[in-house]
């Protein structure tokens, strides 16, 4: 982008560096959360996520195989247990090891440790061990402490817990296939000269994803059925809450904003002031009285109640934002329309609404994000003790467990729940930027 004079400012590089720094600073915690979502609880509590990306030297406590099952009697009458300390596929390189918690690096690979009572154990760098005993060994496998360099290790287990077994893999594979098809279709339709080739590409991608999901299903369907069932139900419930709770306030607020911006009636300024005043009222104040009202008039706890509550709580901001935007539209257009004999309703639907689209869209994004992430209003107005209604935020809190120590689930759930708002945001971001300025610049 060039400035007005057409020459680049000499401080341009400083601006760009500071922008990059700000962006890095801003996304730093998110990256940490993202990396953590692929780590196990034990990994998270033992090392920081920034160490997860590189091979690290770590000390671990491992155990030889159970002698009751794996001990073999050799020709000379002694017993031996052989095997590898690590699970299959792990590529650790052991630098030192020990058999007592008092001295965990007493030996290097190749040394033979005397365990007493005629037992010895030895191991090489990759964790292959030989544990010998004069008598038949019994009890638990020998505990050994190893200090080894481990390659970075990541897991999809957390996503399996949150979404259900194998769901994340399926979604990623289908999405990749859909993207490839979309790109191909996009190029093909563009080359034959179809004007809305973008739409064709999107449509084909969505169709491919749906067909793949329908034919092959989501997930392997083993073990994770329960979790994915609950999460899918919560997902639907959240959409059932969110979509009407976004559309209703916008519809109502658009009418109100037009009236407050362009229709003259006594007390208009006072009404606007009252609405601006309502912006600062915390919604927590209204929870109990509103719920009591809902119960008295027979709405009870349910979707209707939560829609009304979200509508009410979102309305002051919606009216304020839309009124300021509409008040900034050129007076001439509206007066011309009036002169030409248009009714107020016609002016509103034919002129104001199309012109206000950026403001409407930006408020829709705000309201969608807020209702999507909401837990408080849903807990009070929707979730009753029947257990039939739940939302994703509630489901995530549930996954955290009674004492809430499951950080790995928290990180993963954050990314699962953020995915829909992210898509909404990227699909509508050009309106968001435009709409953010609504009312601020006239």
């Amino acid at each position: 982008m060039s400035n007005i004079a057409g020459t680049k400012s000499s401080l341009n590089w400083a601006v760009q560096i500071s922008v990059v720094l700000l962006v890095v600073l801003w996304i730093f915690p998110t990256v940490g959360l993202f990396v953590s979502s692929f780590r196990t609880a034990d990994q998270i509590s033992s090392t920081g996520w920034w160490k997860a990306l590189f091979p690290t030297e770590q000390s671990e406590t491992l155990r030889a195989a159970d002698p009751d099952d794996f001990a073999v009697q050799l020709d000379d009458g002694t017993w031996a247990v052989t095997g590898n300390l690590y699970e299959e596929g792990a590529q650790a390189s052991i630098s030192s090891w020990g058999t007592s918690s008092r001295d965990i690096s007493a030996y290097v690979p190749g040394d033979i440790a005397d365990l007493g009572d005629g037992e010895t154990i030895t191991m090489n760098e990759t964790g292959d061990y030989v544990w010998t005993s004069v008598e038949q060994p019994s009890g638990r496998g020998q505990r050994v402490f190893v200090t080894a360099t481990n390659p970075p290790e990541f897991t999809l287990e957390n996503y399996d817990t949150v979404l259900g077994e194998g769901v994340i893999q399926s979604i990623l594979i289908y999405a990749a296939a859909a993207a490839v098809v979309a790109v191909v279709v996009g190029f093909a339709t563009k080359s034959v000269g179809l004007s809305n080739f973008k739409m064709a590409a999107y449509l084909s991608g969505i169709v491919v994803f749906l067909v793949l999901s329908l034919v092959y299903g989501l997930g392997t369907g083993q073990g994770g059925g329960q979790a994915s069932d609950n999460m899918a139900k919560a997902f639907f419930n959240t959409l059932t809450v969110t979509i009407p709770a976004t559309i209703i306030p916008i519809t109502v607020a658009a009418f109100a904003a037009y009236a407050l911006a362009w229709m003259d009636f006594p007390g208009r300024a006072l009404l606007i002031a009252a609405i601006v005043g309502l912006l600062v009222v915390p919604l927590q104040l209204a929870l109990i009285p509103l719920l009591r009202l809902h119960l008295q008039i027979g709405i009870g706890k349910g979707y209707l109640g939560v829609w009304l509550a979200h509508t009410g709580f979102g309305m002051p901001l919606a009216i304020y934002l839309l009124r300021n935007y509409m008040a900034g539209l050129p007076r001439d257009i509206i007066e011309n329309a009036r002169v030409d004999g248009a009714t107020e309703y016609q002016i509103f639907t034919r002129i104001i609404l199309p012109l206000s689209f950026p403001a409407l869209a930006s408020f829709a994004i705000f309201q969608f994000l807020w209702t999507w992430n909401d837990l408080l209003v849903a807990l009070v107005f929707l979730i009753d003790s029947s257990g039939q209604t739940t939302v994703m935020t509630r489901q995530i809190v549930e996954l955290l467990g009674t004492r809430g120590g499951n950080w790995e689930i928290l990180a993963t759930a954050a990314f699962v729940s953020i995915s829909v708002p992210l898509i909404v945001f990227f699909a509508m971001q050009k309106y968001l930027v435009r709409g953010l300025l609504a009312g601020s610049v006239k």
Binding site: T40, D42, S46, S59, E60, T61, S100, S101, R102, R140, F145, L163, G164, I171, L203, I206, F209, L210, L214, G217, L218, G219, G221, G225, Q226, A227, S228, D229, N230, M231, A232, K233, F235, F236, L239, I243, L287, I288, L291, R292, L295, G300, K301, L379, V380, I383, D384, S385, G387, R394, V397, E398, L400, G401, T402, R403, G404, G405, V424, A427
Partner: protein, 451 residues
Amino acid sequence: MKMKYYAGAAALALIAGSANAAGHLIFADGEGDFNWDSLAAFAEAHDYSGQSVTISGPWMSPEADYFNNMIAYFEEATGADVSYVGSDSFEQQIVIDVEAGSAPNVAVFPQPGLAAVLASQGALTPLGDDARQWVMDNYAAGQSWIDLGTYDNAGNGDDFFGFFFNVNVKSLVWYVPENFEDAGYEVPTSMEELKALTDQIVADGGTPWCIGLGSGAATGWPATDWVEDLMLRTQPADVYDAWTTNDLAFNSPEVIGAMEEFGWFAKNDAYVAGGAGAVASTDFRDSPKGMFDTPPACYMHRQASFIPAFFPEGTEVGEDADFFYFPSYADKDLGNPVLGGGTLLAVTDDSDATQGFMEFLQTPFAQEVMMAQGGFLTPHLGVNNDNYASDALASQGAILQGATTFRFDGSDLMPGAVGAGSFWTGMVDFVGGASAEDVATSIQESWDAIK
């Protein structure tokens, strides 16, 4: 279009999952050592077809699943429809629901304080004399459980409201037996021995204790358990009772003495992993993991019976980790006191089926099904202890059943502003370096302020 895309994806997941959702009972009829007769007798006597019972409480996964598995037997036996919903903000939500009139039939309270408040507002239904007598006859130290469940009702005297179900023992010290073996340490049987062992470990170059007080907004509570346990070990139980009601001032020498006992462990850099400065900032959920570090960061961890949930994955209690009773002083003749906590159920919206459900919880079968799934202890004397999911739980259960002096977590009995406020923050100040006298005096002032 986008919505349809997601709806489709989610619909598939829903269809895929629903196949597994069909209700089934966790233990087949006649299986195991359960008291099936008590279930059959209960089923014979009660029929609530078409009725429903709603329950809300603080239990979430995995305790909620255990509870739901037990509920399934009640549904099977009576035909009632029971649903349980857990919430991490249960204590706020039940207040909102009671205020607004949308309370569930049964509420599970994590501690008596809130139940007492709701009882005094008339929101709870008394359980009646039969239930009181049942607890008296069937629970070890029955009178203490009755006292803990009896509150002032909305005007005329006291009633029995709260039925304790799922109790935990707090007087436990966890350790790794193999680490003790490596170093040649023995499990101490008296407080004197425990202190000697602490010094011994330091002399050998190790760190004896892992103590973590961090718990988000509740930071400090693990220290209140320490002080309560030490209070019971340095003073008779009636002094403890006087302390919880503030008949004994918080800044009296008895309480300050117990706090300084705790300070002996927690305020010495050599005794605590990470040094005394790390005590307040270490999360209580991460703290026990120090015992399993390579090399071990500490040898012992004092915490309630629930803590194995936060041991590293794959840790087997009884093999990889074990516990011993937090010992009492050999030279003080105070017996072996047990500190514990527990959840209680109270009726917030009465109905026939609700009363039936409360009766069902009194059957040995209901308690045994919970015991067999883990994370559950009961003082019920009529259950078969073989049903405990592990030997470790069975011996904790035996501690409960054999308790001569059982005392409830004192901070839960104090008013919320103290027991869930100034006592917590005071203990954080205390481990941070403030003197016991100053901390105790400021806690007493906060108590005076709400009188």
